[in-house]
Symmetry: C2
Subunit: 402 residues, 2 copies
């Protein structure tokens, strides 16, 4: 059984704060600052270009980190060894996955997604489809209509497993199976899944998956994304973003592109060395636990929170599925003045976030959130809500970034 007090002790958490926003940005692993200083001084500073061959904490070279870290992430999401690589941002990785999938289904023109997907995924798909200009259609249906929408016109489904607002969780295995049954491919966005719940990409038969490392994985603001390509596609998927580090032999400087073998072909440009140094420390903490333990604890925490809020705050309407098996690791409540209420909570040290139009979102991250945090959050939320402490002008002015 995981010692969650020990994992919590690995993070810097501001005094007096209950941080329920690790689904937006995970906190700082205490070890990361010293590691970053080492990466700056002993690697960048002293090794300079030789760091590409001998940098990194393991001395394997900066160039090797995207696949080494990819494998560590892969271990949390049920990916086969050598099937995940780190780099770029989630939006870029979505583009790569969808572009590859559409080429693998050249006779089909429909992409299925749902209105609970994160908008950037839809925007990237839209941008790709406009560029291709071949009559592809991005069909965005309601979340519960996805399964029925998967017909034999469909080239690919592109679905975020856990809804960023409600926390509603799709059935990855079932939708993937349905997609395959009609000859379509399945692309999964794990932004709110990786590190949040048990994911079994290999078992579900997913074709492509993408995710970010700054939420549940705690890699830091702007930490890189990752992409998974099922081994059966690794040698046939063509990377539309065909950069030199995805080349079979980048340092031959050939004028012609030849894709690298396997997942390496999904690399594009120079890897984000400094960001990887921080992420490495975040991944160390995952070695102290298992996703089964994290998921069990997450369900305990979210159930405790729902029970606490529903018994004290009748004005808050549960916007997440009631059944923990049908949601990720967050709980959302709808409230018409949710923006102001969230600002009032933040002023009291309970950090969640607001998503338009009326969603108050709270993330539960067992690595550093415990029962006492949940109880304290419930107490403060009940006080703020029942005493209308949010009803002040200063809480109603919206910041540029919410």
């Amino acid at each position: 059984m995981t010692d969650f007090a020990a994992t919590k002790a690995c993070f810097h958490l501001p005094e007096g704060m209950v941080y329920l926003d690790g689904n937006s940005l995970g906190p700082l692993p205490k070890a990361a600052t010293a590691r970053m200083t080492q990466a700056m001084e002993a690697e960048w500073g002293d090794m300079l270009i030789t760091g590409w061959n001998r940098g990194g904490r393991d001395g394997a070279g900066w160039m090797a980190q995207p696949t080494a870290l990819g494998d560590r992430i892969g271990g949390l999401i049920g990916a086969e060894a050598g099937s995940v690589v780190l780099g770029d941002t989630l939006s870029i990785k979505v583009y790569q996955a969808l572009a590859s999938a559409l080429e693998l289904r050249p006779d089909r023109r429909v992409v299925i997604s749902d209105s609970g997907n994160f908008p950037s995924d839809l925007y990237m798909a839209d941008g790709l489809i406009r560029s291709l200009d071949k009559g592809h259609e991005l069909r965005v249906v309601a979340p519960d209509e996805v399964e029925a929408a998967i017909t034999d016109e469909v080239a690919a489904i592109m679905i975020t497993e856990v809804d960023y607002r409600s926390g509603r969780k799709h059935d990855m295995a079932a939708l993937t199976k349905k997609a395959h049954s009609v000859g379509a491919l399945a692309i999964w966005d794990l932004a709110h899944s990786a590190g949040a719940l048990e994911v079994d990409l290999s078992g579900a038969g997913a074709d492509f998956a993408v995710g970010c490392t700054y939420k549940y994985l705690n890699g830091g603001p702007g930490a890189p994304a990752f992409i998974y390509v099922a081994p059966r596609h690794a040698k046939t998927a063509r990377p539309a973003l065909s950069g030199w580090l995805g080349h079979e032999s980048p340092f031959a400087f050939d004028l012609d592109y030849r894709p690298g073998s396997g997942i390496e072909r999904m690399r594009v440009g120079t890897p984000p060395v400094l960001a990887m140094a921080a992420l490495e420390c975040a991944m160390d903490i995952w070695d102290m636990t298992t996703m089964a333990d994290v998921r069990a604890k997450s369900i305990d925490l979210t159930e405790r929170f729902v029970k606490g809020i529903e018994s004290t705050c009748p004005m808050l309407l549960l916007a997440s599925p009631r059944d923990p098996a049908e949601r990720g690791s967050q709980i959302s409540f709808a409230f018409p003045d949710g923006y102001a209420a969230m600002q009032a909570l933040i002023a009291r040290g309970v950090i969640g976030d607001f998503r338009a139009p009326d969603i108050m979102r709270f993330g539960f991250t067992p690595l550093y959130v415990d029962e006492a945090d949940v109880d304290r959050a419930v107490e403060i939320i009940a006080d703020v809500m029942n005493n209308r402490l949010w009803d002040r002008p200063e809480y109603k002015r919206r910041a540029r970034v919410t």
Copy 2:
């Protein structure tokens, strides 16, 4: 006049090393480690998500850094205010620029580049053209044939101003003018120009430009890239990579994409916050000089180096243009056993790099390389070459990354 001793004192340079590889990876600005620790602890650690609105050294928020840093870089390359934004990697920015340019010239099918371009630019163009599948042709000509190749079939020229191997410099103003005279657009890759020589994007009339920040700009390994869009195209260029941070209103979470006004539309995903903290310190050093001073000193240094080597090492053949006006800030020599010779030099503390098949490349970066460094490098190179000190088995084994 710039105090180059003062700029040199701002960098960490390993004792006893003459670093002539700042055209591959610039050295660590001494101030960057403390700034990074501050970004890790006081921003990521203590501000957590509120850092998006109030992080950054100036407190303007992490979200504002890509355009703020873009403007600082813009000042070194003759870009109009508000026309440069930071993010992603150079390969990704090449893709964005070319995809936009091809859409702005929908009736044309030819892209001109040259065999001196960095291969990743060609690979990205190849990937885009394959995706578009509309019969575009990437016509790669010899560097001195570019001008003649610009005919009225051409949609865009995509040229790296300074050749990464030879240092040969294209005439940006003349080629851009030729392109415009036939109705084509001009995309310039400034990887070996930004911070290396005077660039006047606005004066030359460039349509798009891209570059990286880890070479002459000293942003650190894997530091982000930048893209310039001429103000006349900023409201019409469609970003093929249409991510949420390029949306007119990213935090409205609309399902439909609407490009942001101006250069902001070229943003894609979450910005690389930690990498930007390091880059900020690197940019501070540029405030201590002018590109005119840097260029004048660069020419002095490269002339001194050429003279020194040619008078001592008859076996080294100058592979860069002899006229300093026709080259960037590097000097290359061809030598059949160049790989081994470079390894021998590195073992003696003179750091350059090797580019296949036979190029020994030395970068000159006035911010931290001075006349004494050049003289010392010449002395060591002369010793190594004239005494065949490179002719040992251990120098002939090639590392994975050269």
